[in-house]
Point group: C2
Chain length 312, copies 2
């Protein structure tokens, strides 16, 4: 739908993690927007209003990070039921403020309106010395991911089951990182900037799941990737949750959403430098870009590009 | 609530028609956001999806215009019921595209999500050589308005009554400008820039009604205004609608919302130049800013600052 619109002046319009509006004095201005809807992107039974406010900022920061940028300014528009107590609204804005301070974003305006569902709509600007798009990966580049995956999806599984399942409650207590990953989300700003400086050829955040988001890089770069599934780093507790659920860890790490780690295409000779620059955040090589399109495992098995809808 | 947030780097943060993010080479960068919610800001019984898309852009352009700026880039996030036919969504984006072309805005991204109500959230950037804030009006300045007022509110009255009132249907046909004013909204970009160049001391768009919006100028400027109510220009058909409804035209022109004309504070010696620069758009002097705070009529009667909620 966005492609119906006049993108006129923009250097890079809709279709990447963020648009590139213009370049001035060697700095590119970035812009992105994400809208979170109650019952679809968050559930007030599992997340506090302040978690929702924090996450609304973090997911936009993650889009700026995935371009190799740093966030600068944001606008936030909130739709909320007029029956909601003002303390909940204040808590939501306190979560926004906490994230804004954590990521160095100035919140310069927005709108507050009545609505049935809670809706949090954020637009964010950023700056990048060298924006990294989704379109630059080439056969022979290595596919790397920051941090560890599957944590947010595992956290959501547990939160949904906790009301009726004692084992889920135990796992939530044993692995507090999982519910935290689902509720708030991180954004890898420093890591994205390091990747841009080290010569990354393409980058995306894995907010919709590794398989789905990497497939966007492949479409726009015109290549494929072979993934060594055993190398995909799983967040602490993901294996235990997968076992409890009767699923495979790979389902969570490959297709679970809301992790906000970065998937990065890097020429082989740049990986060591980038690994050093990322420290203490881990960088893991999980595959190699190929001439043949699509995602395949090391043994040639194709992987579906779709994230699991029920994670969303 | 927005005042709880860190506004850090901004030259002018939340609280005006738009924020002023920074100044570069004599040009100030502006940013604003507005969210329209079905059933509150529009009604799909009275407005087509393409009207809604057009209006979502126009109301944000109007905020940029009220700073004396021109719009540059926008992001649009849409929440829509997944049962809505795709032709409706396409029509909405066609309305967005029509407004973007009319006002010279590049639409560089956004988000599309499922929601129960339809929500259209726009963030827009602009540029101004000399941003005109709400805070600069001084006693002795003249209060002027562009165009004519009350049309959008009169249009909404008629649209609401048309199902059961033949006279309302006749008035809608006789005065098509009224429903058009409600459905789409204008934005006075050229006029706002002319006002800035002519030395306007304060400016605001009258989206919430003249009385309410002028009261924001008064609060931030620390002065009052005496309005000559007989001089307020009424849109064509407003007198007839007021007579049909048993109300006064002044109720519509002073307190009706959604007109998106500009209210401008101008030093007396600049009014003639500005009137010439505005042409063919009319500029009408309707009052004088005073040391005494509040809004008063020429005979001293105070005017309530509130817009009429049922117009919204």
């Amino acid at each position: 739908l966005l492609e119906r619109l006049p993108q006129g002046r923009a250097v890079v319009g809709a279709g990447d993690d963020a648009a590139v509006l213009e370049e001035r004095n060697g700095v590119s201005v970035l812009a992105t927007a994400d809208m979170l809807v109650e019952g679809r992107h968050f559930d007030l039974a599992f997340s506090s209003p302040s978690d929702v406010g924090f996450k609304a900022i973090a997911v936009n920061v993650s889009d700026i990070a995935a371009m190799g940028g740093r966030p600068t300014f944001a606008l936030i528009s909130l739709g909320a039921n007029t029956a909601l107590p003002s303390s909940s609204l204040e808590a939501l804005y306190d979560g926004v403020a906490e994230a804004a301070r954590a990521f160095g974003v100035s919140i310069v305006g927005g709108d507050t309106v009545g609505s049935d569902e809670m809706i949090v709509s954020v637009a964010m600007l950023g700056e990048a010395a060298r924006p990294v798009l989704r379109s630059g990966a080439r056969a022979g580049d290595l596919l790397c991911v920051t941090g560890a995956l599957g944590g947010a999806a595992a956290g959501l599984w547990l939160l949904r089951a906790a009301g009726h399942d004692a084992r889920a409650r135990t796992l939530l207590q044993e692995h507090p990182n999982l519910s935290e990953a689902y509720r708030r989300g991180r954004a890898r700003v420093r890591e994205g900037q390091a990747a841009a400086a080290a010569g990354a050829t393409a980058m995306i955040d894995v907010s919709d799941g590794l398989a789905q988001d990497v497939s966007h890089v492949l479409e726009q770069s015109g290549c494929g990737v072979q993934i060594d599934i055993e190398r995909i780093p799983a967040a602490g507790g993901v294996a235990a949750v997968a076992e409890w659920f009767g699923a495979s860890s790979d389902d969570l790490t490959l297709q679970g959403g809301d992790d906000y780690e970065l998937a990065i295409a890097v020429p082989p000779d740049a990986v060591d430098d980038l690994t050093g620059a990322m420290s203490p955040t881990s960088l893991t090589v999980i595959g190699t870009f190929t001439e043949r399109t699509g995602i395949a495992l090391a043994d040639g098995t194709p992987v579906a590009a779709a994230g699991w809808d029920h994670f969303r």
